[in-house]
C-alpha cells in the first residue's frame, strides 16, 4: 500500500497549486486525477489571466485578488503567461453610465486603466469594430492552462511530489472521525487500491460535491457550464473585454496561434456536461460581432465547454449571481478531521487558494515552513546557450514554443532524440509546429496513455486541420515506438478522432465542413478505420 501525508484530489489548477505548495514546504503529497492533468475546467476556459477589471464593480474583493495574483503570476509563470495586455472596449450597444463606475471601481482596488482613443485602439488592433465608443488598456494577460498545470507539476515533482492520473476516488477511509486513507480505482485497468494518508484535500472543482458525498458530507457546488469558441488565427494580439457588466461572450483572448471567445453561463446538473452545441456557438458569434464585426469570416477551429465550480452556502444561488470568490471548507466542522474541500474561485487566483489551503493543512501538521510559491518561478528560464542549441535543431517558430512547453530538462531530451536521429526533426503536427521527437518524448512520459494525453502536453492536433494529418502520424509513431499503451491502434485512432469530432460537430459549416470532409476521406475512405474496427470485432 502506498503511503503519504496528504492526498490532493484534482489535477486542475488548484490541485496542482496545492501539490506544489505542500511539496515546497516539505510535506509529502500525492495528487490524484480521474482523467489527465488539466482535463477538466482548467483547460476548458478562455485562458485569461484577469487584471480584475471584470470583477471590480460587482465584487471588489475578487478584483483586488485578481490584480495581486496577476502581478505575481506574470512574474513566476512567465513560461505559461503571455503578456499581451488587454483592452476594455465599450461598444455602441453598451451603457455609457457603467464606464465611469468601472473606472472608479478599478482605481479603488488598484487596477491600472489607461484610456486610449478609438483611433489608437484600431491602429493597434485593426480587426476591432470601428463602431466601438471607448477603450482602456489594462494589464490582462493570456495564460495557457495546460502548460501552467504541467509546470506546477514539474515543480512539485522536483520537491518529491507524486501524481497519479486516470485514478478516481471511490472511498474515503476513516477511523474515529479521522481520515486514515483513500480508496482509488485506476480507470484504465480497473485496478482498485488503497493509499494511507493523514489528510485529504479535495480540489475537485465541479466534482467537489461528489467527493464530499463519499464521506457523507454535503458540499453544495453548482456546476455552471461555459461554452467557448477557438478561432484558427490571432484575430487580435491583445485580450479584448467588453466594457459592460460581466455577461456572455464578452472576452476575446489570443493564445499562441489561436484566439478564444467566451463564455456562456448556464447551470447544469452534471460536472462533465461539456459537449458544446451549435446554439451556444451561434449565440457567442452574435454577441462577439459587436467587438469584431467580421467575426463570421474568421474560421473557427472548434467549440468547447467546461463547468465552473460555483459554490454557495445558499443552495439557490446560481450562475453569475453566485460568488466567484473561493471558500475553504474544513470538514472537521462536519465531524471528520483531516478532510478539507476548496471550492469556488477562479483560475487567476489558483495560487492564492492553494496558499490558503496549504496554510490550513500545515497548521494541522504543525509544519512551520512559510509559503514560497509567490516568489519561486514555476520553471527556470532556459539558458541562452540551450536556446541557441535548440534553434539549431527545431524548425522556425518551433524552438521558443517547445522550450516553454518542455522546460530545460525536456528540451534537452528532445534535442538528444533529434541528435540521435535527425529525421525526428520533421514536423508530426505541421499546424502547431510539433516535431516527431517531441511527440515521442511526450508519448513516453509515464502519464501518457492515449494520443489525447500527448496532445495536451504538446498542442499536437489543436491547429487548423484538427487531427486530419497528425492522427495517423502520431498513431504510427506510438506504434513504431512499441509503447505499452499503443498496442491497439484502432482504439488510438478512435479515441483521438472522436475527441476532435466532439468540438467540431457544433461548428460544422464553411471551411470546417470542408476540412472535415478531407478528414473523413483520409480516415474512412483511404484508411477504412471504421471497417477495420468492425472486422476485428472491437
Amino acid at each position: 500500500m502506498q503511503k503519504t501525508t496528504v492526498v490532493v484530489i484534482g489535477g486542475g489548477a488548484t490541485g496542482v497549486g496545492i501539490l506544489r505548495d505542500l511539496c515546497m514546504r516539505g510535506v509529502d503529497a500525492i495528487l490524484l486525477e480521474q482523467q489527465d492533468l488539466a482535463y477538466g475546467t482548467s483547460s476548458r476556459y478562455h485562458g485569461l489571466l484577469h487584471s480584475g477589471g471584470r470583477y471590480a464593480v460587482k465584487d471588489a474583493e475578487a478584483g483586488k485578488e485578481c490584480i495581486e495574483e496577476n502581478t505575481i503570476l506574470r512574474k513566476i509563470g512567465r513560461h505559461c503567461v503571455e503578456q499581451t495586455e488587454g483592452f476594455f472596449a465599450r461598444t455602441h450597444l453598451d451603457d455609457e453610465a457603467f464606464e465611469g463606475k468601472w473606472v472608479e471601481a478599478c482605481a479603488k482596488v488598484g487596477i491600472p486603466t489607461i484610456p486610449i482613443s478609438v483611433e489608437e485602439a484600431l491602429r493597434l488592433e485593426p480587426n476591432l469594430s470601428p463602431k466601438i465608443k471607448s477603450v482602456y488598456r489594462v494589464p490582462d494577460a493570456a495564460i495557457d492552462g495546460f502548460r501552467m498545470v504541467w509546470q506546477n507539476v514539474a515543480s512539485a515533482r522536483k520537491y518529491g511530489g507524486r501524481v497519479l492520473t486516470y485514478t478516481t476516488v471511490i472511498g474515503i477511509e476513516q477511523s474515529n472521525n479521522q481520515v486514515v486513507g483513500i480508496k482509488v480505482r485506476n480507470t484504465l485497468t480497473g485496478e482498485v487500491s488503497d493509499i494511507a494518508c493523514d489528510f485529504i484535500v479535495s480540489a475537485a472543482g465541479s466534482w467537489a460535491g461528489e467527493i464530499a458525498a463519499l464521506a457523507g458530507i454535503n458540499v453544495n457546488v453548482q456546476p455552471d457550464r461555459g461554452t467557448l469558441i477557438a478561432f484558427n488565427h490571432r484575430i487580435t494580439s491583445r485580450i479584448v473585454n467588453r466594457l459592460r457588466p460581466a455577461s456572455d461572450g464578452d472576452i476575446f483572448v489570443p493564445h499562441g496561434s489561436i484566439t478564444i471567445l467566451g463564455t456562456t453561463s448556464a447551470s447544469v446538473n452534471k460536472p462533465d456536461d461539456t459537449v458544446p452545441n451549435a446554439k451556444e456557438v451561434v449565440e457567442l458569434l452574435n454577441i462577439g460581432e459587436a467587438l469584431f464585426e467580421d467575426i463570421r469570416s474568421y474560421r473557427m477551429l472548434r467549440a468547447f465547454a467546461g463547468t465552473r465550480p460555483l459554490y454557495s452556502a445558499d443552495p439557490n444561488a446560481t450562475g453569475r449571481g453566485a460568488s466567484r470568490g473561493f471558500v475553504t471548507l474544513d470538514h472537521a466542522h462536519d465531524g471528520l478531521k483531516g478532510f478539507v474541500s476548496v471550492v469556488g474561485g477562479k483560475f487567476t487566483t489558483y495560487r492564492l487558494m492553494a496558499e490558503k489551503v496549504t496554510d490550513l493543512v500545515c497548521g494541522y501538521l504543525n509544519v512551520k515552513t512559510p509559503c514560497r510559491t509567490a516568489v519561486e518561478n514555476l520553471v527556470e528560464d532556459t539558458s541562452p546557450a540551450l536556446m541557441a542549441k535548440a534553434r539549431l535543431y527545431f524548425p522556425a517558430y518551433g524552438a521558443e514554443l517547445a522550450a516553454s512547453r518542455l522546460g530545460s530538462e525536456g528540451l534537452e531530451k528532445v534535442i538528444a532524440r533529434i541528435q540521435e536521429k535527425p529525421e525526428k526533426r520533421q514536423l508530426l503536427c505541421e499546424c502547431e509546429n510539433v516535431t516527431m521527437a517531441e511527440v515521442e518524448e511526450a508519448a513516453a512520459d509515464s502519464t501518457s496513455y492515449m494520443i489525447s494525453d500527448v496532445r495536451r502536453k504538446t498542442r499536437m492536433g489543436m491547429g487548423t486541420c484538427q487531427g486530419a494529418f497528425c492522427t495517423f502520424r502520431s498513431v504510427g509513431a506510438v506504434d513504431a515506438n512499441g509503447l505499452s499503451w499503443g498496442k491497439d491502434t484502432n482504439v488510438l485512432f478512435k479515441e483521438f478522432l472522436q475527441g476532435r469530432w466532439k468540438g467540431i460537430r457544433p461548428i460544422l459549416w464553411g471551411n470546417v465542413m470542408r476540412e472535415m470532409e478531407l478528414t473523413r476521406g483520409i480516415y474512412e475512405g483511404t484508411l477504412n478505420i471504421n471497417g477495420a474496427i468492425d472486422n476485428e470485432g472491437i
Partner: protein, 398 residues
C-alpha cells in the same frame, strides 16, 4: 471594395499546393507552399522568427492556381518576405534585380556602353550574387517609348491604352512595336502614357513592398483615369498583367483596382475577344511554320485559358504545339540569382526536354523572362505571339 483577408483561414492543409509547387519538386531546401505560406502565417501572427526557406518561394503562383480553397499562398509568402525585410538590410544584388527600371534609366543614355559594361562585369555581378550563367537581358539601343514617339500611327476613333512594362520598354521593344502594328491592322489607335511606372513585380519578390506600393498607387491612378473613360488597357507581359489586375488587390488596400481590372486585358485575350465579337481583322496570310508554345505561369494564374494558342490557331498553315511542361524556372529575377540558378534550371528541365524532343527550333511565349530562360535552357529562338500575328498580317499583303 471587397476586403481581402490575407489570413490563413481557408487552407484545409490538403497539400495540393505542395504537389504542384515546381520549387518543392526541384529542391528540398524549400519547405513547400503550405508550410511557408498559410501554416506559418498563423505563427507569424503570434511570434517573431525567421523561416529560412521563405527565400526559396519564386512567386510563380502554381500554388495559388492549384489551391481548391482560393488561398493566395504566394502572396502570403511575399508579404512575409516584406515583413522580414522591414528592419533588415537588403543585398545590393536584390536591389539591382528589383530596380530594373532605375537601372535602365541610368543606362538609357548609352545602352551600348551599358551592355558592354555588363558583359565585362559578369565577374563582378557574380561576386554580388548574380549568376554568371543566367540569361540576363541586354538593353535595347532604343527604348519602346522612344521608338513609339517616332512612329506615325493612323488615327482611329477607337483607341486602346498600352501598358508596355519594363521588359518591353527597355529590353524587347520590338514586341511593343509588333503590338502597335497589330492594333493598327485592327483599326485601333494606341495610346501610351508616359506616367506608367514599373508594375512592381520585381520589387515585391525581393521584399521592396513599400516601393511597390508607391508604384501601384501611381499606376492605379492612371489606369483608373483611362478605364473610367471607357478605354481598354492592354499588356503584352503576363506578369505585369497579373500584378496590375490581381496582385495589387491581394497586396495593397488601394481603392478601385477591382473596377479597372475588368477593362485590363492581355493582348492575346483582347484580340480573341475582338474575334468573338466578329471585329478581328482576319486577313491572315499563310505561315507554313512550326513552333512550340510555352504558357507562362503568370498567364495561367490569370485563369483565362491559353489565348495565345487560340489566337495563333487562326493563322493558316501555322503549326503551334503547346509544350504543356510546367514552369520554365526563371520566375522574373529568381533564376538570375546565383544561389537559385541551379534550382531554376532544374525546374525548367522538363520544359527544355519537351522542347528539344519536339525538334522545333523556336518557342512562342508571352512572357519576356520565360523567353530568356527558354532560349538559354533549350538553346532555341523565342518569339512573342504578336510577332507572328503581325508577320501573318504582313504576309497577307505580299
Amino acid at each position: 471594395m471587397k476586403k481581402h483577408h490575407n489570413n490563413p483561414d481557408s487552407c484545409t492543409a490538403c497539400t495540393v499546393c505542395i504537389a504542384n509547387c515546381p520549387v518543392t519538386a526541384a529542391t528540398r531546401k524549400f519547405r513547400g507552399p503550405k508550410m511557408v505560406g498559410p501554416t506559418l502565417e498563423r505563427m507569424r501572427l503570434s511570434q517573431d522568427d525567421i523561416e529560412p526557406s521563405l527565400e526559396y518561394c519564386s512567386n510563380c503562383k502554381n500554388c495559388d492556381m492549384s489551391c481548391p480553397s482560393g488561398v493566395p499562398i504566394s502572396t502570403l509568402n511575399m508579404l512575409a518576405r516584406a515583413k522580414y525585410f522591414k528592419n533588415r538590410k537588403r543585398s545590393l544584388r536584390d536591389w539591382i534585380l528589383s530596380h530594373g527600371e532605375k537601372m535602365a534609366k541610368l543606362s538609357a543614355a548609352t545602352p551600348g556602353m551599358a551592355n558592354f559594361g555588363m558583359k565585362m562585369s559578369r565577374g563582378i555581378l557574380k561576386k554580388i550574387g548574380i549568376s554568371d550563367k543566367a540569361p540576363l537581358p541586354a538593353y535595347a539601343s532604343k527604348s519602346f517609348i522612344k521608338l513609339f514617339k517616332n512612329l506615325k500611327q493612323t488615327s482611329y476613333p477607337d483607341k486602346v491604352v498600352f501598358y508596355p512594362g519594363c521588359f518591353i520598354n527597355y529590353n524587347d521593344p520590338q514586341v511593343g512595336m509588333d503590338f502597335v502594328a497589330v492594333m493598327q491592322a485592327n483599326k485601333l489607335e494606341v495610346i501610351v502614357e508616359e506616367g506608367f511606372v514599373c508594375c512592381g513585380s520585381p520589387l515585391v519578390v525581393n521584399g521592396f513592398l513599400d516601393e511597390a506600393e508607391e508604384n501601384a498607387k501611381q499606376n492605379v491612378q492612371i489606369l483608373k483615369k483611362w478605364t473610367d473613360k471607357g478605354y481598354p488597357v492592354i499588356t503584352c507581359c503576363t506578369s505585369c498583367g497579373l500584378m496590375l489586375k490581381q496582385e495589387y488587390q491581394e497586396l495593397f488596400h488601394i481603392e478601385g483596382v477591382a473596377e479597372y481590372a475588368k477593362q485590363l486585358y492581355d493582348a492575346d485575350e483582347f484580340l480573341l475577344d475582338l474575334h468573338d465579337q466578329g471585329r478581328l481583322n482576319t486577313n491572315f496570310g499563310t505561315l507554313n511554320e512550326k513552333y512550340m508554345y510555352h504558357a507562362p505561369c503568370h498567364l495561367r494564374a490569370q485563369g483565362m485559358g491559353l489565348p495565345g494558342v487560340e489566337l495563333l490557331a487562326l493563322i493558316p498553315g501555322l503549326d503551334v504545339q503547346d509544350a504543356d511542361a510546367g514552369c520554365c524556372g526563371i520566375s522574373g529575377n529568381y533564376g538570375f540569382k546565383d544561389d537559385k540558378y541551379d534550382i531554376s534550371m532544374e525546374i525548367g528541365s522538363g520544359l527544355f526536354k519537351a522542347i528539344k524532343d519536339s525538334g522545333r527550333d523556336t518557342v512562342v511565349s508571352e512572357c519576356g523572362t520565360c523567353r530568356l530562360q527558354i532560349g538559354h535552357g533549350a538553346n532555341v529562338k523565342t518569339l512573342h505571339p504578336l510577332t507572328l500575328v503581325r508577320k501573318s498580317y504582313e504576309a497577307y499583303h505580299k
